[in-house]
Amino acid sequence: MSRTLTEQILGGTAGEYVDRSVDRAYVHDGTGVLTLQAFKEMGVPLGIDVSRIAVLYDHICPANTGLTADLQKELRSFAKEQSIPFSDCGGGICHQVMSEGCILPGEVVVGADSHSCTGGAFGAFATGVGATDMAAIWASGETWFRVPETIGISLNRSLRGAAEAKDIALSVAARLGMEGATYCALEYTGDGVPSLDMESRLCICNMGIETGAKNAIFYADDICRTYLGQFGHRIAPQIPEDCGYREEIVLDLDDIVPVVALPHRVDTISPVTECTGIEVDQVLLGTCTNGRYSDLLRFSRLVRGKRVRVRTIVVPASKAVLLQASRDGIISDLIEAGCIIVSPGCGPCLGMHSGVLGDGDVCLSTANRNFKNRMGVGGTIYLASPATAAATALEGCIADPEVHYA
């Protein structure tokens, strides 16, 4: 029996503790400030090649208060002094910018953000760490891991109708539950994988943490090779072997239907057809789950030439996404349909700015979390795909995207 991909990359078997040097380590403005503080308190110089670390501002961009601006200034100055690769406000969400050619198969990637598991879409071991852990990585270039047990998820056949990768991600969260994969790796295989493009895989890996998983991972295949080829990387595909999984889940993609995660739990889902008519005050398209080009494209195809009926906030996940969507006319289609375009970044997902909910406000969001009060005190969050978000924006209440595709 071969090792799982996560075991191969970490160089150990499940349950073992290993010390590993880190290939990529990144922070954002939210966690980076604390990382810098802990690093300074350690009183040591940077012990890692700066080309392996990065600082990417995304959480409150541009700054919303003087205090936020001051905190950002401190870390920005440090990054510049140390020549650390730096992406300022407007560059985009750290996970998306890192996925634009900065993460390669087989790498050990740590981000000071829970959604760093997104990078597993490239066949890398990618996981989230805290700020102090990251400070120690800045100091030493390495960290320790407990090699996780792996849950195998076999995706068979292909999606049909209006179902999207987000519906797969939500269905997996519902199947495993919010703690069902705690301390585990999620390894995606199956004959349905070639039908999923890289942006779909990023979306699915992004939500691994919502099941408690340490990381989520796809084998790098020809689709991954072609995608990374755009950024000048030539990679060898990883070939799946017969691995020992702690448990194995089989999902037939043609059974997946558009779903909605109900407040306030990611693992409590319902087919969208059973939620239609629930009035919303705001729709959010964006975040590290669904702010990519293909998400904006699918959303725009439904709303183009029509008018949205509720406050609809669109946040491209990165500058590259915004540029491509601008060149292709998607942004003007969205503006003409009545959407609000916000600077690339996390936007209102974490309740900081650019669309914070008021008491009693209901939002349908393409983000990954619907925790109580996350987007504003007293607000209620439903999670769904970009297609469902588009249908909902057009109707002003949760709506079935199949109807709008027809």
Partner: protein
Amino acid sequence: MMREGKAVCLGSDIDTDLVIAGRYLRTKDRSVWATHVFEDLDPALSNRLKGSIIVAGRNFGCGSSREQAPVALKEAGVVAVISPLFARIFFRNAINVGLPVIEAEIPACRDGDHIVLNLDGGWLEAAGTRYTFTPLSPRMLAIIHAGGLVPYWRAKQ
């Protein structure tokens, strides 16, 4: 290392947004986090945390990787957190900031019960009943003994 305190019992799936809401993260002032800890769960809770041991249900600390969550608990005077299952990043963050986390189930424990913890020995006593648990790894215990990863690192230099 022995720790003791009064139990504050909480439910399952307490996410880090509930421990410290995102709207209070725009600062480095730890006292702000301590003041607002658990505000969206129960605004009166922060006043009861000094000298307490949190006894939570499963999946404590799920969600955001924000290290302000264990820092807020420690700053508010929480001595340790006990849960049958911790979310992974919270668990590691807690150790890194020097907040002991114990994976154990003590269903008979009630609010206000006196709890004594032996971190190295792997046992605890709650309201007169003794329970055992698997101690943290030697490396994690060393970090806790040092008071967190930063002092642990400083001591290594």
